[in-house]
Symmetry: C2
Subunit: 265 residues, 2 copies
DNA sequence: CAAGAAAGTATCACAGGTATACTAATGAGG
DNA sequence: CCTCATTAGTATACCTGTGATACTTTCTTG
């Protein structure tokens, strides 16, 4: 369950004020205290970078302890000197791969939040596996916090209270994650051989027939609507995705606008 | 990769019109064709019910093929006669566990969508593992479709186009999933022994110190705001969750209102 | 140059998914 | 009623992954 670097194992004596759990120390790259013994060839950054590279190439499922270790020329067990567990590695990867947010300063909160959402989306689309890292707790890595800071800064000119700000930020982030995940799932399914395309078509056709108008009138109408018939071939996929994404985002921003107006009065 | 019941293995000869992939046939409980050979002691419903029971008790991680089989008094491999793979089992579980939506008919779209969201939330809170089932494709089970139908029915009196309806439905569903998942993650963390409470407190305290006002001014202000200081003990957790949930939901509904007004003119 | 501390390694136990090849049970046709 | 095709469930095995334990190696410091 716990590697040699788990919290209970290697915290030195500290006042309760200075105590920082090992996982957080690694997330924030706090310097190691002692300089005794054999110097490390590996460190958190190397391990995380190797893992991210594998995830970029093979997806999150391709990231296993032995594979990451091998790509570095070490044994699997060696990684446990630098990360507490596989789960912690995923958290570290997620923070590193998010990178720091771009400069998003604007006076217009709406433009700012829109840019923030598009910036996150760009990162997620570049690394779809990020949308599947199981979130184990609130954002706590430096990059996650930096993205949070950016959103809060954009809203700092408004009179929204903290609960609203956090709620809005979480809502938008969740929306971005969800929409990218959905899009990338489809894309991946499509990429798996070309027999997959046939299977997908069969699947869709069969589903349309299972959704009988007597039981599911609205859904049946939806399935036979222009949305599912008209644009199969002429519109590029990415354009559809962009349109859909903006639709939801602007809807959320309209909701935010209502809140801001309300808090201004 | 594929069990004996995978699509390629056991579709009889059919016209391409009647072809239904095996996974869909199981999701929709289509009757098995032949009545030859040994009759089955197990069926999809039994397997799925056993798996759901385990998930309810031990979470999604507790659901393994051997454990589900053992709880039924069979060997692990026997399950593969009735479900194509573990992933398919998860899909079947998700559909079954959602159940059918309650009656939500109203003339007021806003009340209707609010009720829909709260109804979904009730299901998810009862079975938090549902929020972690990896969605492998668009909703295609009968219950998933029924929930979709319910939302579309609520919006059927509006003049929203299909793209908007689907977008709104997806947005609200995503919001509900996300908020329940977050809440249940915290609750689970807390439940894991009481030493966990200390660890969590340490974690929070350390994080607050890592977020220095020079680097993260807004976040630092957030962390020292009333949100994080005032209500630790006096307010019950569930109340906070309800308030936060409604906040985001009403914001979304405000956004929807704007769209409906716009489409009415 | 010894002492000892930390890094990396070799082994191991355990668990889960699933392919393959088996045995068992049943109804249809002779 | 017997036999055989047909389908259900089983035994076995492989492979992969996490991570515990104990060992060896390679440093720094005294």
């Amino acid at each position: 369950m716990m590697g040699p670097n788990s919290p209970e194992a290697n915290e030195g004596a500290m006042t309760s004020e200075d105590f920082v759990p090992a996982a957080l120390r690694r997330l924030w790259r706090m310097p190691e205290s002692s300089r005794l013994g054999r110097p490390a060839a590996l460190d958190v950054d190397l391990v995380v970078a190797a893992a991210v590279e594998i995830a970029d190439r093979d997806g999150l499922g391709g990231v296993t302890i032995p594979k990451v270790a091998k790509s570095l020329g070490f044994t699997g067990m060696s990684l446990y000197r630098h990360v507490g567990s596989k789960n912690e590695l995923l958290t570290l990867m997620a923070d590193a791969a998010m990178g720091t947010p771009p400069d998003l300063d604007t006076d217009d909160w709406r433009e700012g939040l829109r840019n923030w959402a598009f910036a996150q989306r760009a990162v997620f689309r570049r690394r779809p596996w990020l949308t599947r890292v199981p979130a184990s707790g609130p954002p706590s890595g430096p990059n996650q916090i930096a993205w949070m800071e950016a959103a809060l800064a954009i809203m700092s000119r408004t009179r929204l209270d903290w609960a609203h700000k956090v709620g809005i930020l979480t809502l938008i982030n969740g929306y971005v994650v969800q929409s990218v995940r959905q899009y990338s799932e489809l894309a991946e399914g499509r990429a798996e051989g070309q027999g997959q395309a046939d299977a997908e078509r069969d699947y869709g056709r069969a589903l349309v027939r299972l959704v009988e108008p007597e039981h599911f009138p609205e859904t049946a109408r939806l399935f036979s609507s222009a949305l599912f018939e008209a644009l199969p071939s002429d519109t590029p996929d990415a354009t559809i995705a962009d349109t859909d994404f903006s639709l939801g985002l602007e809807l959320i921003l309209d909701g935010v606008a209502v809140r801001i107006e309300r808090s201004d009065s």
